[in-house]
């Protein structure tokens, strides 16, 4: 029997949808329906849920998520369709005939209430002590449907042990309502496939391969499952208590670095619409909480551009001029710890392609406990270094044993945007009302190039701005309007871009002049780059490279584990969906454009660091010690 689809992921819940017409203006492209006795016209194939949304009718949902394929398992969104014996899950019902829908009949309301009652009967744990209190979809549903008692009882005893083996993701299956969003996230959205339904009937639960702990399976810690969990069944490993203790300890010097994406999203936790940047308000809030110094991770993003760009030039020279076949190309970015672990598990044969440059978080960690400690005259053993990240995988990254080049664990705690918002609230601070202040020296405010690391394509854009100026000797603004490299922006899953360098190039600045004996080989060359966000898209590129396709010809590829890049990270405010990701991206790009300093190599603090501390220049000896790292070929089998 033929089976051509062997390549697909082991999908438990595939989308079984009907073909939608590309053009709804053609005859038969739309269909007339009735919702609650009102006539409406919708495009053919629209789901009942979407049709209701279009017409302003609220239908409750739980297992449905805009980012994910349809499941139709929770049954909360049921509606009545005339002529059908059973109620229909509106999220899963594509409209292909002129049906009459009723969204609030006694039968519908009773059935929804029953479903909610049933879920509550098996939901163990109380709201006050839950990380998702006040932001829980089950709680909201219970409230919406006026649940005032446990009609069908309530499980009093815990049935599952909490799995807190992972540095990043904690699983509390007592709170799971089996909506399978995490399963669909892991299998379908990210194509990692760590979580799946196990057993059947009343014993059904979500688990891992052989029911192992999350730390012992090939979880990449991206935390996308957390972002889509409707309850508190999945949450990040929260270090805020430890951080409070460090802040309260007068002997400790507690510093914090803030990544670009949290500031573009944290306002959402304080009731703001998505898309309000809170950069400088956040600086003030962090100082009021009690952090001794507040640094901008964009500084080390700028530094990453210099180090990673330098590494790329060296690799290209060795491969293209010296014909050294041991050099791995294309070079892959290494900023995203979820991506790095994904590659280590799924494509271990490609670890040499990863840039040896550490992620901005870890570069900063190493510099804070060396360069800054020296400068500020503080013993690094008395320092606690915290990083606010949009990311759950950063928690794992800072605990990698090799991330201790300062002689101590370089970054002590990775804190998510959500966790920081909670700390700020706990300190009685209303973030949007904070006065604006700058970042602390000696690292100061960084460039817009570092800032756009938060969006997919941002690392590439920042790199291109610098490469263009270094190699072509032109202003980036002369090559790209307002220095905006539009082709690498946007949420297309995989982006490919070629930059012809032309014959006119140089002069190459002194900072990198010494790296290679000559630069003539770049004349007439075309730089080929690609960008992928979400590991499912990364997989597409990796498979193409394995097959020797066009991406294997690339020189430099940016990979981000999370959809949309860091701004859609697993540590960002819940909910996160496409619309919200777009708004966060707009906030980041708008802030970048508002800045004077928009290129990494123009960052005066970076220049100064090379002058004063990393005196051998990029990829020099000290750089290698502090700012570069190595990777582990993990593979898929873990003993």
């Amino acid at each position: 029997m033929e089976n051509k689809d062997t390549q697909r992921a082991p999908v438990s819940q595939k989308p079984h949808s009907v073909d939608k017409p590309a053009d709804t203006t053609t005859i038969g492209g739309t269909i007339s329906i009735e919702i609650n006795n009102e006539k409406h016209t919708v495009p053919l194939g629209t789901t009942i849920l979407d049709a209701c949304k279009m017409t302003g009718i609220h239908v409750p949902t739980l297992c449905h998520h805009d980012d994910l394929c349809i499941a139709g398992v929770c049954r909360v969104c049921m509606v009545e369709v005339e002529g059908m014996r059973t109620l229909q899950a509106s999220c899963a019902f594509p409209i292909t005939s002129p049906i009459k829908i009723h969204t609030s009949t006694p039968m519908v309301r009773k059935a929804r209430r029953h479903v909610i009652d049933l879920m509550l009967s098996e939901h163990h744990g109380e709201c006050y002590s839950c990380v998702r209190n006040n932001n829980c979809e089950l709680q909201s549903l219970a409230n919406e449907y006026g649940v005032d008692k446990y009609t069908f009882g309530h499980v009093e005893k815990s049935r599952f042990e909490i799995d807190n083996s992972s540095f990043s993701v904690i699983r509390d299956m007592d709170k799971c309502v089996l909506c399978k969003r995490c399963v669909r996230t892991c299998i379908d959205l990210q194509e990692v496939g760590v979580l799946e339904s196990v057993d059947r009937g009343d014993k059904t639960h979500i688990s891992t391969f052989m029911e192992k702990d999350l730390a012992d399976v090939i979880c990449i810690n991206c935390g996308q499952c957390i972002n889509r969990c409707p309850t508190g069944a999945l949450h990040a490993n929260d270090p805020s208590d430890d951080i409070w203790n460090a802040i309260d300890d007068p002997k400790k010097h507690v510093v914090i670095q803030t990544a670009p994406s949290p500031r573009a999203a944290i306002g959402e936790e304080f009731g703001l619409e998505a898309g309000h940047s809170m950069t400088q308000e956040l600086n003030t809030a962090l100082r009021r909480i009690g952090f001794n110094a507040v640094f901008d991770t964009n500084f080390t993003a700028d530094l990453t551009i210099i180090e990673e760009g330098t590494e790329l030039i060296i690799r290209l020279f060795k491969a293209l001029v010296e014909k050294d076949e041991t050099v791995a190309l294309p070079q892959f970015t290494s900023c995203s710890p979820g991506w790095v672990k994904y590659l280590e598990h799924y494509y271990p044969e490609y670890v040499d392609n990863l840039s040896s440059a550490k992620s901005p978080q870890q570069m900063f960690g190493a510099l804070i406990k060396t360069f800054y400690a020296e400068k500020a005259g503080i013993d690094p053993k008395d320092m606690i270094s915290v990083a606010v990240m949009p990311c759950s995988a950063k928690k794992f990254e800072c605990n990698r044993p090799e991330m201790a080049d300062s002689g101590y664990q370089d970054v002590d705690y990775g804190l998510t945007t959500r966790e920081l918002a909670k700390m700020i609230k706990e300190a009685g601070i209303n973030l949007p009302e904070m006065p604006k202040t700058h970042f602390d020296n000696p690292f100061g405010d960084a460039s817009g190039a570092g800032l756009i690391f938060g969006a997919t394509g941002g690392v590439m854009e920042a790199a291109i701005r610098t490469i263009v100026e270094f190699v072509l000797g032109k202003k980036a603004e002369d090559v790209f309007e307002k220095a905006n490299v539009i082709p690498v922006r946007g949420f297309e899953g995989v982006k490919y871009y070629e930059i012809p360098l032309g014959d006119q190039f140089g002069p190459v600045p002194a900072l990198i002049q010494h790296l290679v004996p000559n630069w003539d080989w770049l004349a007439g060359a075309t730089l080929k780059v690609a960008v992928a966000h979400g590991t499912a898209n990364a997989k597409k590129i990796m498979e193409d490279i394995k097959a020797g396709g066009k991406f294997s010809e690339c020189h430099f590829i940016e990979f981000m584990a999370c959809p949309g890049g860091c701004l859609g990270g697993g540590g960002q405010p819940i909910p996160t969906n496409e619309e919200i990701r777009k708004k966060r991206a707009q906030a980041i790009y708008a802030e970048d454009e508002s800045l004077e300093l928009r290129k990494s190599h123009d960052n005066p603090h970076v220049v100064k660091l090379y002058e004063e501390y990393l005196t051998e220049g990029p990829c020099g000896h000290l750089s290698h010690k502090l700012l570069h790292t190595h990777y582990t070929k993990r593979g898929k089998y873990i003993a």
Binding site: H16, V18, R75, M78, T86, V115, E122, D202, T204
Partner: protein, 402 residues
């Protein structure tokens, strides 16, 4: 009754037939002629749901695709059903020839038999049978000399999950995924196995088709009632002298059946297996028919010595375990119904709560994702209704509805 406990006096299914006969006839016919006969016969699906077979095949035939499939649902997992086993073991020509007709009619090149895991013992003989058919050119390329009519059959084993008898869960299982029902629409006739149009039919449906195409739709519908044409195989078990497989015309009353199988002192008859309804004495004049007491074939007989709470508990335990676990009403609802039965057993219940559970059962019937959860409350609701007196006056110290 013969030694295999089969009453072979049936007029339709068990009527005379030789392997290949119908295939030779079919290759001379148009697809429309076959669909016409099927429509004329008013044959409804024999798995229990009773969907008109001609409509299912017509829709599959009309769907446009590079490949189509015909699947024989031989998962026979409904408690108390064992008539498909008899057909497969003793009348494989009816099943396989029926599938060939299906392939010809809908335009499929492949047929798959999804065989209940517990029937593994018959796998070898069925495969040998298919090989013999291939040797006679009843399967393979250009069947019976008909240019371009290629069709072959493969047998796949299930792994023991009851839900995989539900057609979309069966397809998921065939594709190597967890046995969980899909959302519908789209239906398998459009988006089935490997995303292609697929007709999934019960073993007995294929057997009926063979006789319809051989002898005509008119002949077929002389048997049975107006709305339930033809005859049906019943798997009769429980408290009777002669349990076994019987072919009876639709419209036979429960009483007639009980007489035939030698059942005395009968208190209850469960029609349609665990997912069916339980009838009490006063309903024994009801007819076995889609329009009255419908069934996929399972008839379980309980005499006066049986405890109906115990019977119900057994059914509910089955569903608690066999729910696939994906949708809320079925996964948790069945647990709640079972808890209710246990409360009744212990005599610790209130009528208020039992009534709430009946309402929950009604919700499950309309809110569950697939037929499993939609039918699992049937026995709960029917037993508590039809055996009210016995259950709530059980004299075991119950609070009897305080």
């Amino acid at each position: 009754m013969d030694e295999n406990k089969i009453a072979r006096d049936g007029a339709v299914i068990f009527s005379e037939y030789t392997r290949g006969e119908v295939i030779k006839k079919v290759v001379e016919l148009n697809r429309d002629d076959i669909l016409f006969e099927l429509k004329e016969s008013k044959l409804k699906g024999r798995g229990g749901a009773g969907f008109p077979t001609s409509t299912k095949w017509m829709l599959t035939a009309a769907a446009k695709a590079d490949n189509k499939y015909v699947i024989c649902n031989a998962d026979e997992g409904e408690p108390g059903t064992f008539k498909d086993r008899v057909l497969l073991l003793e009348y494989p020509e009816l099943v396989f020839d029926g599938m060939v007709i299906g392939g010809y009619t809908v335009g499929a090149k492949y047929g798959i038999v999804y065989l209940r895991g517990e029937y593994e013992y018959m796998l070898k003989s069925l495969q040998d049978y298919l090989e013999a058919m291939r040797n006679e050119n009843l399967l393979g390329k250009n069947i019976c000399g008909k240019e371009g009519f290629d069709f072959d059959i493969e047998i796949r084993l299930g792994s023991g999950a009851y839900v995989c008898g539900e057609e979309t869960a069966l397809i998921e299982s065939l594709e190597g995924a967890r046995g969980e029902a899909r959302n519908r629409p789209p239906y398998p006739v459009n988006t089935g196995f490997m995303g292609r149009p697929t007709s999934v039919n019960n073993v007995e449906t294929f057997a009926s088709v063979v006789h319809i195409v051989t002898k005509g739709g008119q002949w077929f519908k002389q048997h049975g009632t107006d709305k339930s044409t033809g005859s049906k195989l019943f798997s009769v078990s429980g408290d009777c002298a002669n349990p076994g497989v019987y072919e009876l015309p639709w419209g036979t009353t429960i009483n007639e059946l009980l007489d035939k199988v030698g059942a005395v002192n009968t208190k209850a008859v469960q029609v349609g297996g665990a997912s069916g309804v339980c009838l009490s004495k006063d309903q024994f004049e009801r007819q076995l028919a889609y329009e009255d007491a419908g069934t996929g074939g399972s008839i379980m007989i309980f005499n006066e010595s049986r405890d109906m709470v115990h019977v119900l508990k057994n059914f509910m335990e089955f569903f608690v375990e066999e729910s696939c676990g994906q949708c809320t009403p079925c996964r948790i609802g069945n647990v709640k119904l079972l808890e209710g039965v246990e409360m009744i057993e212990k005599g610790e219940y209130t009528f208020r709560y039992i009534n709430q559970l009946k309402e929950l059962g009604a919700t499950m019937q309309v809110a569950s994702k697939c037929g499993l959860g939609q039918s699992s409350p049937n026995s709960f609701i029917s037993i508590l209704e039809n055996f009210k007196e016995e259950i709530f006056n059980n004299g075991n110290g119950g609070t009897n509805g305080k």
